[in-house]
């Protein structure tokens, strides 16, 4: 298919009805017109009337409701990944070298959250600076970069050929970087920009200006999804919107060629279409990007990148490796195992990089086997869930409660004198002993009896994640006695505790919920309850396959549809 045909199909696709055969495993809400996204500004009126004809079968959701999806801005990681994928390979390093794109600030949740990517005044400058600097670099290297990005431009002779060359670039590059074909108005804006700069300066500078525009265009920065007609409560996402969501979820990037083709050829509208693409993507090499990014953020691995951690077993090189270990683990899990939840939580097969051997060596048993259990007891996880120079069994316990079991710990009551309660114990050698009053004091015990024990077993890992058998000369007691939902009994160490946790529906669901948050870029709402139930059901049915979990999310109502109005409840 040549470019002209492809673009024609792209435009036509916007006018084709969606999901006429959506499979409904739940007889949910029906009667919503398909209300196609973004179509109001595209195509001719006749096509649009066809798309919204009364004969269009009703859309059926599996669930009665879904949460509202806020517009997201892509994260800094996604921005750089998109640039890496759409710019000429020979120019990527030079471009990223001058990028000052604002780092996504994760306060809560994930880097994909809309709230993590707001734009302050300074950040708007940084975005503009980035676009300008990369464009400038592009121009400086124009002898190589122009033919690499746009081979036809150096060969073009005369206005008509230059214009045709640029039009083709704007259409193709724009569609890629915008994750959809350009709207007519957008196309005019870009081409007018090129013409004005070409007239006053040169074609190369016109192209540079166009690139500078694309690198800060709102259609790149924001994941916009149409709300359709006002009276519709739910609208299905358009094919290009689905492609964008899939690409960002699985590859942290813009849609690849196959996704683009699926959009243009009308192969991305039904649930089955989405599942087909999701299965392809989850098996693609690029899937490791999202897989590693999720686990890195889930276990707060970014904390290791921001702090200077001085430890006798850490030099500069090993510190950098430690900061990337969560990603290493996730990549290993995805590529070397069946990537199921139980393996994630309990494997003893992961081999840390040699640079981290000193952190692990002390704990190796006589046979040299790796004694750590699963992702949570890696050195990186233990270090990220600690203070920069001391462990925190409460922080580790709270993390497990909040982010592994999704049984949040209530906030500390304002009238509790913690320091006073612990004062008499401060000279005791182990953290377990020092925090003992929290379990025996009535006003503290209510929370801490199901909190501290979750941290006890991990005390054998110091704040850098290195194994230690003692603290201040006293042997560390790793046992834990716990009554927390289905996790009940006495556990000898972290391995036993994690084995128990991995087998609970509670932990599996919590893990799925975190993936849902990452994928949608928002916390779940009460309206998402049914969706989460179905996702968890499919996750469980797959034996805890993380790949199947991602496919379940991608094919869920919340992923494929959009609520256009706030819930009144």
């Amino acid at each position: 298919m040549n470019r002209t045909n492809l673009l024609h199909l792209l435009r036509l696709l916007r006018l084709v009805t969606v999901s006429l055969g959506t499979t409904a495993c739940y007889s949910g809400i029906s009667g919503y017109a398909p209300g196609f996204d973004n179509e109001a500004s595209v195509g001719d009126a006749d096509d649009q009337s066809d798309a919204q004809s009364p004969e269009t079968p009703p859309i059926e959701l599996e669930c009665e409701d879904i949460g509202r999806q806020p517009m997201r801005r892509i994260s800094s990681v996604q921005y750089e990944q998109i640039l890496s994928d759409v710019l000429p390979a020979s120019f990527v390093a030079a471009a990223l070298e001058v990028s000052s794109f604002p780092r996504t600030n994760i306060e809560d949740g994930f880097s994909t959250y809309a709230t993590a990517n707001t734009v302050s005044t300074n950040e708007s400058y940084a975005i503009e600076d980035t676009a300008q600097a990369i464009a400038q670099r592009f121009y400086e290297l124009r002898a190589q970069s122009v033919p690499a990005l746009l081979p036809c431009l150096p060969k073009a002779v005369g206005d008509a050929e230059i214009r045709a060359c640029i039009e083709g670039f704007v259409d193709e590059f724009g569609a890629r970087i915008f994750r959809r074909s350009l709207r007519p108005a957008e196309r005019d804006i870009v081409l007018d920009l090129f013409e004005s700069i070409r007239d006053s300066d040169s074609a190369d500078l016109g192209l540079t200006a166009v690139l500078q525009y694309f690198l800060q265009a709102p259609a790149l920065l924001y994941v916009t999804e149409s709300s359709g007609e006002a009276e519709q409560v739910f609208v299905p996402l358009g094919a290009d919107e689905l492609a964008a969501r899939l690409a960002l979820l699985f590859t942290n990037s813009a849609p690849d060629a196959e996704l683009m083709a699926a959009v243009s050829e009308g192969r991305l509208s039904t649930k089955e279409d989405v599942e087909l693409q999701a299965r392809r993507l989850v098996e693609s090499p690029e899937a490791v990007r999202a897989f590693t990014q999720f686990h890195h953020e889930w276990l707060r691995g970014f904390a290791l990148q921001n702090e200077d951690r001085e430890h006798v077993l850490l030099d500069e090189a090993s510190q950098a490796v430690l900061a990337g270990e969560l990603k290493d683990f996730a990549a290993w899990l995805l590529t070397e195992t069946d990537a199921d939840f139980r393996t994630l939580m309990t494997t003893r097969s992961f081999s840390p990089r040699p640079e981290l051997a000193p952190l692990y060596a002390a704990g190796a048993d006589d046979a040299g086997a790796e004694p750590r259990t699963g992702l949570l007891s890696t050195a990186a996880a233990m270090s990220s869930l600690a203070h920069p120079n001391s462990t925190s069994l409460i922080e580790r316990g709270a993390f497990i409660r909040n982010h592994v079991l999704c049984t949040p710990v209530p906030p500390l009551p304002p009238d509790i004198d913690v320091e006073g309660a612990l004062e008499d114990y401060s000279d005791l050698p182990t953290a377990r002993q020092r925090l003992e009053p929290l379990l025996s004091t009535p006003q503290c015990a209510g929370c801490h009896v199901a909190l501290n024990p979750l941290g006890f077993p991990f005390e054998v890992y110091d704040w850098a994640g290195a194994f230690r058998a003692t603290e201040n000369g006293a042997t560390i007691d790793t046992s834990a006695e716990l009554e927390l939902g289905s996790i009940s009994g006495t556990f000898a160490d972290a391995g036993e505790l994690l084995e128990a946790i991995a087998d609970t529906q509670q932990a599996r669901r919590c893990y799925a919920t975190h993936w849902f948050r990452y994928a949608l870029g928002r916390p779940e709402t009460p309206e998402d309850q049914c969706t989460l139930d179905l996702i968890d059901e499919r996750f469980a049915a797959s034996g805890g396959s993380v790949k199947e979990l991602l496919i379940a999310i991608a094919t869920s109502d919340a992923f494929r549809f959009r609520r256009t109005q706030e819930s009144t409840e």
Binding site: S41, D129, S226
Partner: protein, 474 residues
Amino acid sequence: MRRRNFLVGLGGITVGLPMLRRFGEASLAHAGGTDHVPTRIITVAYDMGTHIPQWKPSAVGADFELGTITAAMEPFRDRALFVSNCSNDVLELVDGYPGGHPGKKEAVFTGTLMQHAFTGDLSNHIDNVIQSSPEGHTRTANGPSVEHVIGQALRRPEHPRVSVDLGVWGPGGVREPQPSYFFYESAANPVSMPVHPALAFASLFSGVTPDGEDVDEAFLALQRRNASVLDAVRDSFVDLRQGLDAEDRRRLDEHADKIRQIELDMPPLASCSLPTGIPEGEGAYDGMSMSEIVDLQIRILAHAMGCGLAPVGRLEFLFQHGAYFGIPLVDDAAQAAGNWHHPIVHGLDGWALDSEVRVTGFKFYVDKFAELCAQLDAIPEGPDGRSVLDNSLVVLGTDLGEGNLHRADDLCFLVAGNSGPGRRGYHFDAEGYNVNQLLTTLVHMAGVTNDDGSLVQEFGLRGFTQGVIDPLLT
């Protein structure tokens, strides 16, 4: 220093890296924003009051005729806001505030009292105010003035100076800078006002290369291209709004506003030129009238603003106790009264309130303010045909209302240029509102918020009054 000297050249083409920034130490943040948010503030002050019936436009609202005193603002009436009858209520906190000027001047732009009125740690809070006459304790206002606070938020690294400050001290010939009565950088820290035009010129423009023959064409071309790109980006924001719900549109609009701010913050294209005709040499200013001196200072101030030397400009008439207006009618009357024109203008017994001498004297200040506006308007700034005036919040204030009565409960203010969300071409009778609320309103007009993005709710004496003068905002 020339602004573009901050920019780094690479590869045969000048690169703008980075553009302008807000200063991190600012206590307030610039909200950034729309076409209507100013990038600088200029305040002008004098301590005479006015004659209100001839200052006030003929009617409140948008349909009015300008009074005799404000007639010179006619060319700018569509970009001006006339506020009359605003009460400086904070002065009422002190028993028997004296009839003179002390305390009143200090309060107009700071919204607080002099330190003598405070007890304890001098914390600028109403709870610390004691009832005490501040007479004899001038220049100790207990907080910064509004243009300083706004200026901190507006300042960018490309501004070589915090402010450009110029005073008028009649008679001419005084060389030493004089402390301001109206303007403060912090409590009891008045701004120093250079009053000698030649010295001020030398200080301000040392190292500044005007745009002209040596204009870096590559830089100008780059800037023009950047402006074109930003225009295209902003247009795309408009297009992208289609089909989105209200919340998503709001987020896009906020970002688009910030893009607009980047455009406004771009260094101006070839608008930096040096003021000419500034006399040099020993004795050049001896005996020079206030009118002549202020004309020079206005020229210097306008060019300094056009060259982007600072986000704040100030002009203050500091000493006016002589026959130095440069207006024969007023000066002759002053000489007849013993070379003391100050009371002639606003308080000598036996002169009718609406006498031509008095009205002419009061008109002098508004005339000069209008001249400043005209000079600012004559300097192009930015890529879209705007002028320095279009990007500046320019305020004229005085410490008294009806000058002859030395009252401070009927003050008149003039706001011109870019008043952000403020009304323009409008006269508002501010009865029932106080100066502190007006100062808070100016903060809103400047697009300045608290660091957390919330709106500033009070200015000046804390705990005294809250909120803005809503009718002044659109």
